[in-house]
């Protein structure tokens, strides 16, 4: 009797199924074995959360805290759900933050326009300092309103942000040192290699910074006069969305500040936003430089350093924009850094100064920063 025929078929299907099952199990076991042994003591996790979403994230409990630029740190605090654990200047006193970057081709073709730009920027910073020094003045009110509109926060938040940010374009020695420190941080993280440095034509970090930062334009602005010709030169200007570190740009585009025409216009510049609403983060702005979409831009110094080195983007740092002005805010049930053990912190993403800040804070406390 041949029930064997059917039996043989059944057997074959069982064999196939068994082989597949074994294969899947083997793959799963191998993959599991490759999971790094997480030392659960003393680790902090990070995940990418846009700064303007961090306050909500903390309120909802999806993150225990966040690192961001002003005004979003103040926003989180003033929302009542969080408090500042560290201001960035507590970790790195007087540290450089945002810088003004210009494309090499624009520098070559329009050096005078660049100088005029920096002059307008400089005057804007002065105006800001003056307004802050006179909190009862109409200028101060105007300043708050501008910031609130730009970042979509309220005036109180803006006022708080101003307290912890220093607006200056000055490329002081400590500023330059700070930039060198960032570069060294990247090297220790393997995000930049000395091989790459050499490839770009720099023999060392010092050599790199001395060539990459060009203060010749900034030094020349004393003699720059307002424009006398009626024509404006178009300049594609990049900036980060909602980032008040770059307040000077905002002020320089405002007509009221200039008394009818904006400061940029007075110096013969038509500042066109290269990306409506600004870029989400520094690296994206650097990518835009690479495609020639931006002539002069405001962005964080770490991305400016990182992407220039890794992607050979032809730009130079020609001025600062601000120092300090970032913070690690945490939800109100966190009272010390130890409470953050094993928890998730939001940050704007790799390569940003806020990420480096988080890294530095973790190391300072003897913790390890890992991806969530």
């Amino acid at each position: 009797m041949s029930v064997n025929g059917a039996g043989a078929l059944m057997k074959r299907s069982y064999v196939i199924a068994a082989v597949l099952l074994v294969a899947v199990v083997v793959i799963a076991v191998v993959a599991w074995a490759m999971l790094p042994t997480t030392d659960s003591s003393k680790t902090i996790k990070y995940t990418k959360v846009a700064p303007n979403m961090q306050a909500d994230g903390i309120a909802q409990g999806s993150i225990a805290g966040g690192v961001s630029w002003e005004p979003y740190a103040s926003q989180a605090v003033l929302s009542g759900n969080a408090h500042v654990l560290y201001w960035s200047d507590e970790i790195w006193p007087d540290h450089p933050c945002c810088v003004i970057v210009a494309s090499n081709s624009f520098l070559a073709s329009n050096p005078d326009v660049v100088k005029s730009f920096l002059k307008a920027d400089y005057l804007a910073n002065q105006w800001i300092a003056d307004a802050i020094a006179h909190p009862d003045s109409a200028n101060y009110t105007l300043l708050l309103r501008m910031g609130a509109q730009f970042s979509n926060v309220n005036n109180t938040v803006v006022a708080s942000s101003l307290e912890h940010t220093k607006f200056t374009a000055d490329l002081s020695p400590s500023f330059i040192d700070g930039l060198k420190n960032y570069t060294n941080d990247f090297i220790s993280l393997n995000q930049v290699t000395t091989a790459t440095l050499n490839q770009r034509g720099y023999s060392s970090v010092d050599d790199f910074i001395s060539k990459y930062v060009d203060d010749s334009y900034l030094s020349a602005i004393d003699s720059v006069q307002p424009s006398t010709s009626g024509t404006l030169t178009n300049v594609n200007v990049g900036y980060l969305a909602g980032d008040l570190h770059q307040f000077a740009r905002l002020v320089a585009t405002n007509a009221t500040v200039g008394g009818g025409t904006s400061l940029f216009q007075q110096y013969g510049i038509n500042a066109i936003a290269s990306s409506a609403g600004g870029y989400a983060a520094g690296p994206s702005e650097m990518d835009a430089f690479a495609t020639g979409t931006v002539d002069i831009g405001y962005l964080g110094s770490p991305p400016a350093i990182l992407k220039h080195l890794n992607n050979d983007i032809g730009v130079k740092i020609i001025a600062g924009a601000n120092t300090e002005g970032s913070a690690l805010v945490v939800s109100n049930d966190i009272h010390s850094f130890a409470d953050l053990n094993g928890k998730v912190i939001g940050d704007p993403g790799l390569g940003s100064i806020q990420h480096l800040l988080l890294q530095a804070i973790a190391e300072k406390n003897g913790y390890e920063l890992v991806a969530a």
Binding site: S13, K48, V49, N190, A281, K307, L350, H355, A372
Partner: protein
């Protein structure tokens, strides 16, 4: 030709490779080597940061498994990310299979089901699964978001192929079953369903390819929750394109392996069922 010949079972053996197939493999090898050569030369000639050479990519690939080295891409090591992507993949694909096969059978066999289901399917199908990613991330979170995207991607090919299979059943077979006493439901289980199995396997193979595309795209757009897509995304942010390529290579490997397995099963099922 009388019924005294012994049946020929040689082509039913599990592992049989013809001379034709061997020369195919030689062609494949030549093509791949050629591709590598062009890439290598191109990367040297162009000398751009965004086109690393094969050795650089291999180097990054190996480094990506090491925790220390992977600090460069934000601490995401390849092993756990592959696991994360695989997890999502298996879940999303499994869900698609479980839902699309019965629905395809129903829609192929019953006019009512087809009439009800078709408009919805035709409206949803053209929307690329990737377009749903931002919504799914918000609605389903960091893990299930990509899972649902994969589900959508794999669902439609499987559904279509199963439906097509059901409709392709030779009506004479169904007639034969009727004259052998089969009721409508018995015809379905004993004739229609087995007939559709090879078509289902084809749908699975197609769906697999799409699913891998979806998962990487979803992880890249979401940029949270890890996965190979996150490695690719992070590499781009930092500008370390060799790691980005390494991630893409990993996806290619996973895709080839899974689709290859599926195609193998597909072929063997067809032969084994005598429907080559």
């Amino acid at each position: 030709m009388t019924a005294t010949q012994k049946p020929d079972r040689s082509d039913r053996s599990f592992f049989r490779i013809t001379r034709g197939q061997a020369s195919d493999y030689v062609l494949y090898a030549i093509s791949l080597i050629g591709f590598l050569a062009v890439w290598w030369i191109g990367s040297i000639v162009l000398n751009k940061p965004y086109l690393p050479s094969p050795p650089e990519v291999l180097d990054a690939f190996i480094k990506s498994f090491d925790k220390e080295q992977a600090k460069a891409i934000g601490g995401l090591t390849m092993g756990p990310q592959v696991f994360a992507s695989l997890q999502r993949f298996l879940l999303g694909f499994g869900l698609a299979l479980v839902l699309a096969v019965p629905l395809g059978l129903a829609m192929g066999y019953s006019r009512i089901f087809e009439g009800l289901g078709k408009p919805i399917v035709e409206v949803l199908r053209p929307i690329p699964p990737i377009a749903w990613v931002p919504l799914f991330f918000v609605a389903f979170g960091v893990f299930l978001g990509p899972v649902m995207t994969i589900f959508l991607g794999a669902f439609f090919p499987i559904l279509s192929n199963v439906m097509f299979g059901v409709k392709s059943v030779d009506p004479t077979l169904m007639d034969a079953a009727k004259t052998l006493g089969a009721s409508k439901s018995k015809i379905f289980t004993k004739v229609v369903f087995p007939y559709t199995i090879p078509y289902m396997m084809t749908g699975v193979t197609v769906g697999l390819g799409i699913a891998w595309m979806c998962i990487v795209a979803a992880e890249m757009i979401g940029a949270r929750g890890g996965g190979i897509g996150a490695i690719i995304n992070n590499s781009s942010t930092i500008g370390l394109y060799n790691y980005m390529f390494a991630g893409m290579v990993m996806i290619a490997i996973l895709g080839i392996v899974t689709v290859g397995i599926s195609k193998f099963i597909e072929k063997r099922v067809s032969i084994w069922m005598g429907m080559k």
